[in-house]
Amino acid sequence: MTTVLTQLAGEGASLADALRVLLLEDYNTRLVVLSTAMLGLASGFIGSFLLLRERSLMGDALSHATLPGIGIAFMLMVVAGGSGKNLPLLLAGAAIFGVLGVGLVLAIRETTRLKDDAAMGIVLSVFFGAGVAILGMAQAMPEGSAAGLESFIYGKTASMVLADFTLIAVVAIIVLIACLLMLKEFTLLAFDEGYAAAQGWPVRTLDMLMLALVAAVTVIGLQAVGLILVIALLITPAAAARFWTHDLRRMLLIAGFIGAASGWIGASLSALAPRMPAGAVIVLVAAGLFALSMAFGPARGVLIRGLRHLHVKRKIGRQHLLRAAYELLESRRHPETELVHNTPIAVAELQTYRSWSPSELRRLLRTALWEDHVDQLDPRTIRLSESGFGEAARITRNHRLWELFLIHYADIAPSHVDRDADMVEHVLGPDIVRQLESNLDGPIQPLAVPPSPHDLSAAGATP
């Protein structure tokens, strides 16, 4: 069977080739693309649970731990008189040692002071070392040829056959169904192991089941993308999905989708371009999707959090400026009516009121001008605009309400409340303000607004 890869090696990819690959017209490409996409889907699902349990590197430990199993299975088959190349038996050997390795990780974690990372590292390196030693012996066996066992380490995506595809499809479907059936149990395990145990769930059995599914995906992944790169499919799609949603079900779907897309796109790209190993390209596509998610993900992407941070910072700056202005105006309140008048304020005055740096204050004023909260009278004097004055009064009032609340209900000395109020007032919602008002009905005066000079009871008095 000639692979697309070798066909294209000489001439480079044309549009027709590209179409042929993307439309899965080529038999071999179809096998490879569908296999890797299914593998990505399954590992996205199970990888999400691993991520939430903070055990992402378990796939790493597990995949290295399979190596002695492969070597021993090979040697036993050769001793029994075979060629040693029976794939299901090799994979069975891999699975047994994978589960053994996981069991040891859990045992080390339970019975020593060592943490997860050290337990995984120990199992990973010792099992892999043992595997290398065993393969070293297997290669010296005169009866069978151990050459090709190395494809377990680097994968042999391009030369996949129907049997590989069937195996991957069956295992992937089993993993998906198991994840869906155990959704509730796994969710509980991922978020609150202690609670699950207290509720009487068989936590340890569930844990082993989850890791057995990881082992299944890892073992079939060894064939498709190789030992070291299968780890990426377990970790990267799940980590990328986390940026898109806070909902676990949606996260599973998104992770599955990203995993499948990585497999599909990566395998197609590697079929198109000469000398692009599929495993590596799939990992790079997944990494690219991860980078996009990290930047633009709406749930906790860097951009959205940056914008939110900027928004809050701006809000806090605005509130500080307006309150400072209002308190300055308050200090020159009309002696008889006690009314606060919106008179011009010198920038220098504001400057000394709070410890702003000149550039900070300039920036705040520029924003306030743009938001139409202040009017610039001349370069050194500003005045609150009409809306700015109202906003300033509201903000100052909220701050005072919160201060009074702290004094009355939290027993904090009046000299200490300003800073605390400052921390909280920026997040006060209208509901809380209303509640504060009702709580503090007695001690606080309603906002000073002059009484109406005319009778308001007559209908239609105000236009």
């Binding site: 390196s125 043992a130 012996m137």
Partner: protein, 310 residues
Amino acid sequence: MIEWMPLDTWIVVVGALCAMACALPGCFLLLRQMSMMGDAISHAVLPGLAVAFLVSGSRSSFGMFVGAAIVGVLTALFTQWVSRFGQVDRGASMGVVFTTLFAIGLLILVQAADKVDLDPGCVLYGAIEFTPLDTVAIFGFDIPRAAAVLASVLVINLAVVLLLFKELRLSAFDPELATTVGVNATAMHYLLMTLTAITTVASFEAVGSIIVIAMLIVPPATAFLLTRSLPAMLIISLITAAVSAWLGHVMALTVPTWFGFEGTSTAGMMALAAGLLFLAAWVLAPSDGLLSRLRQNHRSLRTPDFPTTG
């Protein structure tokens, strides 16, 4: 039984030097719960090796060392970025970073396959069996080049650990406290990462990444089970590392003969030997071992004390 030759002595010396060099930063990695960093760095340096090799065109050059060491430190940096800016769990961010770097390295290697014979397998398994053949003359003695390189790395690691012992200890156990008393915990973190990267890369060509990963993690973990004092942990891990190297080579020569084979990978066996020593500590450790825990449980149940046989 086995024929021990001067060659074998050198193999053990090279292995022991490498193992001891790894064990020192490994202890601090373990305490910071960053044991997997060695695994991540050793996979991630592949693009560094590949690029440096393409640029310099030779396989045992200083450029390759520098290239890989830079990528090693970058791995730590990227991991930090992804976990801080993306608020991703550290294990996961490590996984994303090192698999991506490894894939990039693989791609470069395959693209340049005509010009290069840098086998990823060689990076993985190393060739400790052949290190005694490549010698340099130092003070008139012929010493394996790998032994000279690894000895220098061991000396550097020892010097850093001895000079900055207080700072490293404080920032490993309590980074916040370290910062308040004027120790730059971030600088200590990257110093440790640099040491790990340098040690990893220096060991690569000689002994492969398997020994490196195993020796960064397993001897420190063994020592951790045997003592609760950091200086004792460092010393025990050095001893365990050296013993693992010796035991591993002996096992590589003897164990296969039991099954009718001639011999096998010394690197793999050294990792396995370290694992056996860990197993012994896990079961037999004086206060934390499985056996003594079992005994304590019996005592607490007020059952008569009886000798536990293994």
